[in-house]
Structures are given as structure tokens and as C-alpha cells.
Amino acid sequence: MLSPGTKVHVKLDWPETRGPCHIRTPHYLRGHHGVVVRHLGDYPNPEDLAFGRPAPVLPLYHVRFPLTGLWPDAKGDDTILVELYGSWLEAA
């Protein structure tokens, strides 16, 4: 379990290049660093549910990213807050 304040790295992975898949991790966040804000609960992995496969229950986190870390022309302190499954996060 990742506690609030933990710095994390979103895996730089592109399952869509390997075949049919269903992903809830937006492409613009992959490979970027964020900070865990809160644990939102545990949910069956939608990547499996979408194909009717047995779905392991995964922790879901709210993770905050500075806009300036995502876009070259961003300015200021604005942020993006996103729900991400633990399977996509690595402690940074």
C-alpha cells in the first residue's frame, strides 16, 4: 500500500502495442512522476473485467502531477489529479 505523499513513477508501458487491451491509465501520464494524494479503495482490475477474465482486486490511488512536468509550455503551479491503479505505479 502506498501512503499519501509517496513519490511515484507511472510505468512507461504501452500494452496497446502488444495486442487488444483496455487501459485506464492515460497515455500522457506514462513515464511521468507524481505524488500519491490518497488511497481511493480497492477495485477489480478493469483491464481484465473488460475481457471477462478473472480480475484481481487492485488498490486505486489519487495521484497528483504538476502540469509543468507534463507539457513543455505549461507554467505555474496548476496540477492534474488522476485515479491510477497500483499495478501502474512504482515508488520513485
Partner: protein, 193 residues
């Protein structure tokens, strides 16, 4: 025949028949779910916001457990994703988007506005949120923090806006009349009298 080219009304009838035959959902259950979805509108969310502005205990419940707050006002939430509520303050403004598809808190806001699902809104909300807000006629002061909330997974998010000045002493019913759909998405801000 390619399923993508099949007549959609026949596909729908086929899926409904399969749901019934397999014991997943009866025709009555499907009809009931459609009725519940059709009956939702932004007026429900507005009533929740107005109550949160006038009852601190309800505001606390709404921020802690949006689903429980909605249920306490008679909104059917069973079987739906959890509702999360994001509080705007003098320091922070929230803007909700679903970049992956069109996740929307339909139970409390009804069907999403047409632009919410557009590729332009979804792309620009995360790339140039302040510019997008200007196009909605909303200017966020430079010193105010903007947090874009990308609804990607199991939650649905709505914004609890800041109560406008000049509404002191108003009843919850009067306040609810001020609140528009966009105020609860974060593209606009409720206007006072």
C-alpha cells in the same frame, strides 16, 4: 456480417434478450435502470450543493462520502460507481474531465453536455485548462491554483463550487436556482445576484 456494421436496434434487442436468457438482467430491470437514468438532471446536484452551502454537517458528509450524501437526498446510487466531491475554495479551483471516454456523475447531473465527450474538450482540459476556461467565460485569478481532475477509473467526480457573494440569508431552494450544470463540472462559477 461484421458486428460494427450490424443494425444497432437489432444488436440492442439481441443483447437484451441474451441478458434475460442468461439471467443477468430482466427486461423490467433494464427498463427500471433506463427510467432512473432518464430522471436524473443537474437539479439534483444543485440541490446537494445548495444544502452543503447551508448545512455544514451535510457539506462534511458530501466531501467525505458523496454517495452517502446523494442517497440521503433520495438519489438512487445502488450499483453505481462511488461519487467523489471536490470542494472549490478561495485558493483552489477544480475542473473535471474524462480524457479516456466520458465518465460523468450521471446520477446527480444527468446526461453529460454534448461538449463533455468531445475530443477537443478532453484534450484541452489537461493541456491548456486556463485557456479552455476563458472560452467558457471563466477567468481563474493567476494566484488561484487550478487542479484538473481526470476521471479515469472507478469514481465519478462533481465539483462543490464556492457560494457566491450577495446570497447571505438565502434559502437552499433559492441558492439551488443559481447553480448550473457547468458550475458542478468546473467550467463555470456560480454567479451571485
Amino acid at each position: 456480417m461484421n458486428i460494427l456494421e450490424a443494425p444497432s436496434d437489432k444488436l440492442l434487442a439481441g443483447i437484451r434478450t441474451l441478458l434475460a436468457v442468461k439471467g443477468i438482467a430482466t427486461a423490467d430491470e433494464v427498463a427500471e435502470r433506463i427510467r432512473i437514468t432518464d430522471s436524473a438532471s443537474p437539479a439534483r446536484g444543485a440541490a446537494m450543493v445548495a444544502r452543503a452551502w447551508t448545512e455544514p454537517a451535510f457539506r462534511d458528509l458530501m466531501l467525505r462520502d458523496g454517495t452517502a450524501a446523494a442517497e440521503s437526498m433520495g438519489v438512487p446510487m445502488r450499483g453505481l460507481p462511488p461519487l467523489g466531491v471536490l470542494e472549490n475554495t478561495a485558493e483552489t479551483h477544480h475542473l473535471v474531465v474524462c480524457t479516456l471516454c466520458s465518465c460523468y456523475p450521471r446520477a446527480v447531473l444527468g446526461y453529460p453536455p454534448f461538449w463533455f465527450k468531445s475530443a477537443a474538450y478532453r484534450a484541452r482540459a489537461v493541456r491548456d485548462p486556463r485557456g479552455l476556461l476563458v472560452d467558457f467565460g471563466t477567468t481563474i485569478p493567476a494566484e488561484m491554483k487550478l487542479e484538473v481532475v481526470d476521471s479515469t477509473a472507478d469514481y465519478r467526480w462533481m465539483v462543490l463550487p464556492v457560494r457566491p457573494a450577495g446570497t447571505e440569508g438565502w434559502s437552499a431552494e433559492q441558492l439551488a436556482g443559481l447553480i448550473r450544470e457547468g458550475d458542478m463540472i468546473g467550467v463555470t462559477i456560480p454567479k451571485g445576484p
